[in-house]
């Protein structure tokens, strides 16, 4: 397996970098003002400075896509951040005291939160406080906590039985010190992978929420709402649905591939197991 390029990692990194680049550049420059409504450019065909044309309000599609990337990343970063900040410590506590009442309580609450998907949380928050980017981010973040807590707990359980942890405990190190110095560094690669996969799910959730009107509010451009606005024009101007749809799919694909690629790259133990499982030529010899 020497010299084999990690295709997933490469493609994923390129796609994610593209989304990131679009978002960063959009702060300084977009071809046009993405929120500028201009009846004269209504449904303008692509070309002449309007690379992908304009929508029914005359807003430049390409500029909207660029700023939409910013929205997507913003929601994703905050949501995954919330999930990690809450989920990782909870998972570590549950994993380091697997038989304690606290661990039991954490996992039960976790199961309960798991029954509230992001969309339901967003609708509940939206119904009470009014929907917006903030409620969407909180809803997606909270709904992602169980995934983080579970992965963290599973990884912590594995690390806790290793010799160096046993040695540290035998040496009388206190639990918080062990957690920070030994457990966290050893589960970090697993967490990075989880963050990447959760990011993809967050993008999907944000798009769905914006599509339903529970996400980013107008006039801030968002891919999901671009899709929703384009739906009525599907018969006449399908390209308006094409570009945001493609943007969502490629961004999600990028983060998923990045997660898969990182899993192979960061966890050589896992990769070795995989190689053994794919019986190599001489694997049958006993």
């Amino acid at each position: 397996m020497k010299g084999r390029v990690n295709v997933a990692l490469l493609v994923g990194a390129v796609l994610v970098a593209l989304v990131g680049l679009a978002a960063v550049v959009s702060f300084f420059w977009t071809p046009h003002d993405p929120t500028l409504v201009d009846a004269a450019r209504k449904l303008r065909e692509p070309g002449g400075g309007y690379l992908l044309g304009a929508d029914k309000f005359g807003r430049d599609t390409f500029s909207q896509l660029m700023v939409g990337a910013r929205t997507t990343l913003y929601v994703g970063i905050v949501a995954v951040g919330i999930a990690a900040v809450l989920g990782v410590p909870l998972g570590m506590v549950a994993g380091m005291t697997p038989r304690g009442w606290l661990s039991e309580l954490i996992m039960r609450v976790n199961d309960l939160v798991f029954a509230f998907p992001a969309l339901l949380l967003a609708v509940m928050l939206g119904a009470v406080y009014g929907a917006g980017t903030l409620t969407a981010m909180i809803a997606i973040g909270v709904a992602t906590v169980p995934a983080f807590a579970r992965v963290t707990r599973a990884a912590t359980l594995q690390v806790m039985v290793t010799d160096y942890i046993l040695a540290a405990r035998a040496a009388g190190r206190r639990r918080p010190a062990i957690a920070v110095r030994h457990v966290l560094p050893n589960i970090s690669s697993m967490l990075i992978v989880q963050a990447s996969v959760s990011f993809a799910i967050a993008i999907l959730a944000e798009a769905a929420l914006s599509f339903l009107g529970f996400g980013t509010r107008p006039p801030t451009p968002s891919w999901g709402r671009m899709l929703q606005e384009s739906q009525e024009l599907l018969f006449s101007t399908p390209r308006l649905a094409l570009w945001p749809g493609l943007a969502i799919a490629l961004a999600v694909l990028g983060f998923n591939l990045l997660g898969d690629g990182l899993r192979d790259y960061l966890d050589p133990r896992l990769r070795r197991i995989r190689e053994q499982a794919e019986p190599p030529a001489n694997g049958a010899t006993r």
Partner: protein, 304 residues
Amino acid sequence: MLSVDGLTVRADSAELVHQVSFAIAPGERVGLIGESGSGKSLTALSLMGLLPEGVTASGTARLGERDLVGVPESRIKDLRGRELSMVFQEPMTALNPLMRIGAQVAEVMTLHGRSSPEARARALDLLGRVRLPDPEQIFRAYPHQLSGGQRQRVMLAIALANEPRLLICDEPTTALDVTVQKQMLELIAEVAPALLFITHDLAVVASVCERVLVMYGGRVVESGPIREVFTRPRHRYTEGLLAASKLTPRGTRLPTIQGNVPPAGHFPDGCVFRNRCPQATTACEQVPALTGDGHAHACWHPAD
């Protein structure tokens, strides 16, 4: 009855078994010994047509009139489990965890044409024949409720169900407790029609088989009656193997064969053993042929 001629097994470019030839007569019990990596399991699997993906066999192997090697699976699968059966090394994973033992034993009979009620009745019978206690209960049990030794007996019952002409056992007792090993060996010796017994354990071969093939580096380096091979080994590898397994007086060093078995595909040209052989000379750069009637060896500097 079984005749193997020029059997060669390769994976991609690496040759894992080279030009192996031997025969087994009806009722004969033959041992195949060698260290791990010697190609003995691959030899057995190629007879069964069960080589892993990407590994292919060439040469000829015949069971009676039927070809076993180089024919599509559809043409030999009716032989498997009927004329030719195999018991594997690892009993813990060889049975389907979701199926009751009785159904798994009966399956091999219904597959080859017996009616279902008949197969079930006979399955119960077989479980008793392999000396499992309380066959009725075992019949209804799932694999996880049985010990390793019991599961291996079930595997033996499956192998014997259609009264095959040849039974192949691949290290059938290696995974078992020492106390269970002996009973299992006695049972195999008692019930096997003709036997090809694969092991790395010389004592086991001596207790079960009449004739032995010694494999090293994918080749048969010595073959002959057990008594002769074990008392007067000719090939230097066999000699080393025997010396290493002898009970030595306390305090003396156990003689070992120097070096390690190279990974597949990395054996030297000529005599495959020459890089570990204390007697090796330039003559050994040529491949020695397996010569001799009855007791044959492939060595330029045989022991006498």
